[in-house]
Amino acid sequence: MFQKILIANRGEIALRVQRACRELGIPSVAVHSTADAAAMHVRLADESVCIGPPPARESYLNTVAILSAATITGADAIHPGYGFLSENAEFAEMVEAHGLTFIGPTPAHIRMMGDKIEAKRVMQAHGVPLVPGSTEAIMEFAKAQRLASELGYPVLIKAAAGGGGRGMQVAHDADELEERLTLARAEALAGFGNDAVYLEKYLDRPRHIELQVLADEAGHVVHLGERDCSLQRRHQKLLEEAGSPALTPTERDALGARVTAALASIGYRNAGTLEFLYQDGEFAFIEMNTRLQVEHPVSETITGIDIVREQIRIAAGEALGYGQDDIRFTGHAIECRVNAENPVTFAPSPGRVAAYHPPGGLGVRVDSALYAGSVVTPYYDSLVAKLIVHASTRAEAISRLARAIDEFAVIGIETTLPLFRRIADSADFRAGSYNVHWLERFVAGTA
């Protein structure tokens, strides 16, 4: 097992990893920018190193500073959290080149799945269903035109180096195609330094369903069930649940079997998530995230498996020690991403937290780096807390969510808690009848 783990992240996820380290008895090192000197992940740290000024580029994305911090503190492993350097294959390589362990997949797998076209090819080759579309980069308009008319409009143009919904364009008909293609390539070049794009059939009312997997170095792969992450605004997930109200256990098991077999074939290791669109009873793979995800707690909640602990154990060479049949799904879990934003306009609301009182009681988990007196700076992501509830049934989980939100006091900054309170009361949400477009309409008052 590791002697000391450096956590190359901030906010709630740095605290999440720190907790797992502490429970494993492994000292951990917090790194932080000058803006985060009084942040919770630093306050509660065993050790901390200031790695740079507020801009992430000069601190949390500063690979040299992070590796230096690991060296001077004697850390032998680095956990990247999510975001920042978590899906950066070069960073993972640098970590390994320095004789440290990167707590995550191999650089090769990060790279493979980072290229969204390559990821689709690999998954297709291993029997995972895809959204109909190109399995190679589309560089010429003529080719795009031919493929789009085969697929039928509307079509989606996506950046090969993109992911998470960034840099996407929809062409509703042939007339729009050239303009949208040009725009998408320009955005892809600006955003990812690579103008390769590809085409997919645009599904009009899909759900976003993803599958959490864990794989050890010996090739044992299990899945922890699905998460329904269809509640999105501008392609950003806001609320996730496990299981999906749209899926049967049989569908989950069938998808799980296919996915775990595919990952075993390619020798994947550590945690990962395969994202699918689901419509008309069909799954279509869209991308794989080779890291811990924000919404991992809902899977932990229904399976009782501590995913971060497992990531660390796997990276240290330990075996999973259980098979798919040992994993039981109990009850229903819902996570809300509480952002420091106005709940109506979504304008960021940085500031000083005058008072903070999280909800408690049965079936309530809060992952947050807030405390009374803490400051939400304007430099980073607006996620300030995750509220996760668990209950025997989905209806009870929603009731619990509503009462927990009513107890949750964050004074001094605006948060999206009131939006989640409204969602918990909405008939569509209670019925589980929503797709990836629902939340935009709900927010606009047209759902």
Partner: protein
């Protein structure tokens, strides 16, 4: 209307009320939001609402790379040379050699003060201005954080 996300007139009025009534704090909460104004009593202790959670847990391990009170003072010094990176400090060009500079010495702008090794690269840290080197705050071979005061140049 001001376009500000609060009503400055309301705050002014509350401030006047604070003064008039001799109160130290007024908080008004409504559907639209809340306003809280506070005034410290003359000679009184500061009103602080936030107590750091870590303060409660004496069991928690102390942070390493501790910032000593001395270093805190030094960081606030206008002549503090702060580390521009995380790494290991070297005060001399090689083991056993004489240090680049010593306390008490007059320094020229651009003169090399020390080296910081980060990822096998030695980075020269140079004097930003001329002056007298008042203090050397770090020892050769020790790690430094970003922003940590290294020397005081007066």
């Amino acid at each position: 209307m001001s376009g500000l996300p609060f009503d400055p007139e309301a705050i002014r009025a509350l401030a006047a009320l604070l003064k008039e009534t001799g109160l130290t704090e007024i908080e008004v909460a409504q559907k639209e939001g809340s306003i809280r104004v506070a005034r410290q009593p003359p000679g009184g202790a500061p009103i602080v609402a936030a107590v750091p959670p870590a303060a409660a847990t004496s069991a928690a391990a102390p942070p390493s790379l501790p910032t000593a009170p001395e270093a805190e003072d030094a960081a606030a010094h206008p002549g503090a040379i702060k580390s521009p990176m995380v790494g290991v400090v070297y005060l001399a060009p090689e083991p056993g050699a004489a240090p680049f500079v010593m306390a008490g010495q007059e320094i020229e702008a651009g003169q090399t003060l020390l080296l910081i090794e980060a990822m096998k690269t030695f980075n020269q840290i140079k004097a930003p201005k001329a002056g007298r080197l008042a203090r050397v705050l770090v020892q050769s071979g020790t790690p430094v954080e970003y922003g940590e005061p290294l020397m005081i140049l007066e």
